[in-house]
Amino acid sequence: MSSRRSRSRQMSSSRITDEQINDLLTKLQAVLPEAHLRSTDRVSAAKVLQDTCNYIRSLHREVDDLSERLSELLANNDINSAQAAIIRSLLR
């Protein structure tokens, strides 16, 4: 795994190269939405970090929002039928 490779490089030279950081930033950028729209050349660290922060914040907001909706659904529905529906959809 490349993460293991970069860690061993760190241990042997104990200096983190720009290339390693760029590599990690590229991997990080790959999990952000619209990753296919971005170039794979050297990435701007500040932009990637900013986009990452925004994305994490939006994911946290989605979790809050979905928690509220789930809470309402639990209140209105019988949990057993809800469970059955959920498990059916998961095993489809």
């Binding site: 993460s3 529905n77 809800a82 959920i86 095993l91």
Partner: protein, 154 residues
């Protein structure tokens, strides 16, 4: 019960839910059932907070102790009340816990990723990528639960 011991991913293209995602789903479902059973008449806000904590707990348990962010989340969840008391104390002392202006984007990221403040830069980037992957899986799971229980449920 249908045997699920055969290859759970017969399709080479990613199936909807692989084995690890199923584990995440069952763990979260169990937590949801617990929330419903133990406080059926509590307020919507309190229940939604518990569900939100259950979401992060399922994520962290599924990721296990191999990741710094999941370890930090599990610590935070277990000592939730104690941490809140500490936060109140330090705020009362008049000392701000963090500078009001962010020095760099990495600082902002450290605050968002569990355990981020204790990591070196490289670990932070790795942990963030994994955290985002798990977080978006959790969101997808919750969305599919809402979809299946909502209009089409029963």
């Amino acid at each position: 019960m249908k045997s699920s011991t055969r290859n759970p991913n017969p399709n080479p293209d990613t199936p909807r839910f692989g084995p690890s995602k199923l584990m995440l789903a069952f763990r979260f479902l169990r937590a949801l059932t617990l929330v419903h059973r133990t406080a059926p008449n509590s307020s919507n806000a309190a229940r939604s907070r518990r569900i939100q904590r259950a979401a992060f707990a399922s994520m962290a348990y599924s990721a296990g102790p191999r990741r710094a962010w999941s370890r930090a989340l599990l610590c935070r969840l277990h000592f939730h009340r104690a941490r809140r008391r500490c936060a109140r104390r330090s705020r009362a002392a008049g000392v701000p816990r963090r500078p009001s202006t962010t020095r760099s984007p990495a600082d902002g990221l450290r605050r968002l990723v569990p355990g981020g403040t204790g990591m070196d830069y490289c670990s932070l980037l790795e942990e963030t990528a994994d955290y985002i992957r798990c977080l978006s899986e959790q969101v997808k799971l919750m969305q599919s639960i809402v979809d299946s229980v909502g209009p089409g449920g029963r």
